[in-house]
Amino acid sequence: MSVEPHANGDVESAAGRSVFVYEGPVRLWHWVNALCIVTLAATGYVIASPLPTVAGEASANFLMGYIRFAHFSAAYVFAIGFLVRIYWAVVGNHHARQLFLLPVADAAWWSGLFHELRWYLFLEPTPKKYVGHNPLAHFFMFLFVTVAGVLMIFTGFALYGEGKGLGSWQDALFGWVIPFLGGSQAVHSWHHLGMWGIVCFAIIHVYAAIREDIMSRQTMISTMISGVRTFRE
């Protein structure tokens, strides 16, 4: 995979011009992924701090079991989605690759990042226009979706392998994570911190998407729905 000179996607653009940016699989993945993460964070939180005790016979209840089932099912969707998304980064258009590549060697990308940061600090009157992700968003997406996603998948499947037992494929592939991070309890802690990282990202991400949709010179939310970015001026 080569990093394209304009992986950051800045363009010369005229008002009203529309560009097709996010292909179907990327958009589908985005919404499926967002749903998974909400499910995983909610169920994960109550796995660590369970709901109040339920009354009745143990045999008549399976609350924790269902919660864990929901977590693990969403986890599979999340992990498989992640793999499919990597596949699409290889075969899709260059915007599909953005999520997995940080153009750290590109000075223009860095200056764009600081411009965006100043825009968020109200120090710039206007944001720049981008066909793909703006550099600031790109940076945090890479950190809290790509890197944190890998962390969650590795620690998550390592924990899952503990239940599946020695010799399961989860244990064979990810079991090494447990001694590597210093034991099962430590893996729980990393997995847990990872959740908070992603939750913080999601809060800011959703806010930024709505804000940019209103205040910047290009469409945002509709872009993630239809795939088409329209410039307003």
Binding site: L166, H188, C200, M215, E233
Partner: protein, 363 residues
């Protein structure tokens, strides 16, 4: 001519009948089928006896205490007879120079052919002066004795992971055995102490089959450390149902619900307590109403409170855990977002038409 195990046992006054019983008992406790009993008997009758040297470093002797309380008197007698002739400074009859002479003799006579069992661990600070064995730093004795051994059994959390003497800040720089001896096969039998039946099971396996049992990634015998307490806990149905002890002495505690919320470390601890249990299968911590403290896990003293499910993270302040750290950051993020939105709205209202005009230099 070196004696076989059988000859030693007979000389110690153990009857043939007891010996055969012991073989079937061992086959069972190791999880092998009945067909293995004669194989064990045959091995013990024909194989030359492998001596075991049992060294004590920085420790509290709880491993020995556990070991000699092995539930089945038969197993205990036999296993002790297998060991007692050789060197164990706590259990042997000899003392002083006489005892040290035995150590010397075994390591020479059985060069490359004896098992070294280590209880406790060597402290390295001040050239090892925090643990003296027969007038010398224990770490030296350990290295010397390990040089010609066939394999090492690391008894307990001390020898396997370091345990309390290696807990932060570890002033004596106590380290587990595998940090000092790197060229010998090491069987870790962690626990504080390990379960007696697990200890005798491991010794018997090594001595009868003349090989080390199958180990997991961290060097523990799979047959005893292959599953977590949580996987075989009899309170597990209450966990799955969502029925927890919320406070000591509440109604749930009386009903015997799951101790997860009281910080039970069963879900992160590999040991056989929930199957083998303690004191001859009488009970184990969870059965007595207290959560597992995870004593067979690496660094369990430094893994947060025994009564907290989510571990404290010391780096983030005196006492904090992932929820407090994450919750705080998320709350800050939420407030920041709200404030930012307010300022954005204000700016937008003031400038009238929202975003400014096209800026030069856009690419």
């Amino acid at each position: 001519m070196v004696e076989t195990f059988y000859e030693t046992l007979r000389r110690q006054g153990i009857t043939r009948r007891s010996f055969v019983k012991f073989c079937s008992l061992t086959a069972t406790s190791l999880g092998l089928g009945p067909a293995f009993a004669p194989k064990i008997a045959h091995a013990l009758e024909t194989k030359p006896r492998t001596p075991v040297i049992w060294l004590h470093g920085l420790e509290c002797t709880c491993c020995s205490e556990s070991f000699i309380r092995s539930a089945h008197p038969l197993a205990k007698d036999v296993v002790l007879s297998m060991l007692s002739l050789d060197y164990d400074d706590t259990l042997m009859a000899a003392a002083g120079h006489q005892a040290e002479a035995i150590l010397d003799e075994i390591t020479k006579k059985y060069k490359g052919n004896y098992i070294l069992a280590v209880e406790g661990n060597p402290p390295l600070n001040e050239d090892g002066m925090y643990c003296i064995h027969g007038g010398r730093p224990f770490v030296e004795v350990l290295k010397e004795t390990a040089k010609d051994c066939k394999a090492i059994i690391s008894w307990g959390a001390c020898a396997s992971w370091g345990c309390v003497q290696a807990a932060k800040p570890n002033p004596t720089q106590a380290v587990p055995v595998h940090k000092v001896i790197t060229d010998k096969p090491i069987i870790k039998v962690p626990g504080c102490p390990p379960i007696a039946e697990v200890m005798t099971g491991v010794v018997t396996y090594v001595l009868t089959f003349d090989r080390i049992p199958e180990l997991d990634r961290q060097g523990r015998p799979k047959m005893f450390y292959g599953q977590r307490i949580h996987d075989k806990c009899y309170r597990r149905p209450h966990f799955d149902a969502g029925q927890f002890v919320e406070q000591w002495d509440d109604d749930s505690a009386r009903k015997g619900y799951c101790l997860y919320k009281m910080g039970c470390k069963g879900p992160t601890t590999y040991n056989a307590c929930s199957t083998v249990r303690w004191n001859g299968g009488v009970s184990f911590p969870i059965q007595s109403g207290h959560g597992c403290i995870g004593c067979s896990e690496e660094g369990f003293w430094d893994k947060g409170g025994f009564y907290e499910r989510v571990t404290d993270i010391k780096q983030f302040g005196v006492e904090s855990n992932a929820d407090k750290v994450g919750g705080t950051v998320a709350a800050v993020a939420g407030v920041a977002v709200a404030a930012h939105a307010a300022v954005s709205a204000l700016k937008r209202a003031r400038s009238g038409s929202g975003a400014g005009k096209t800026e030069q230099g856009d690419r």
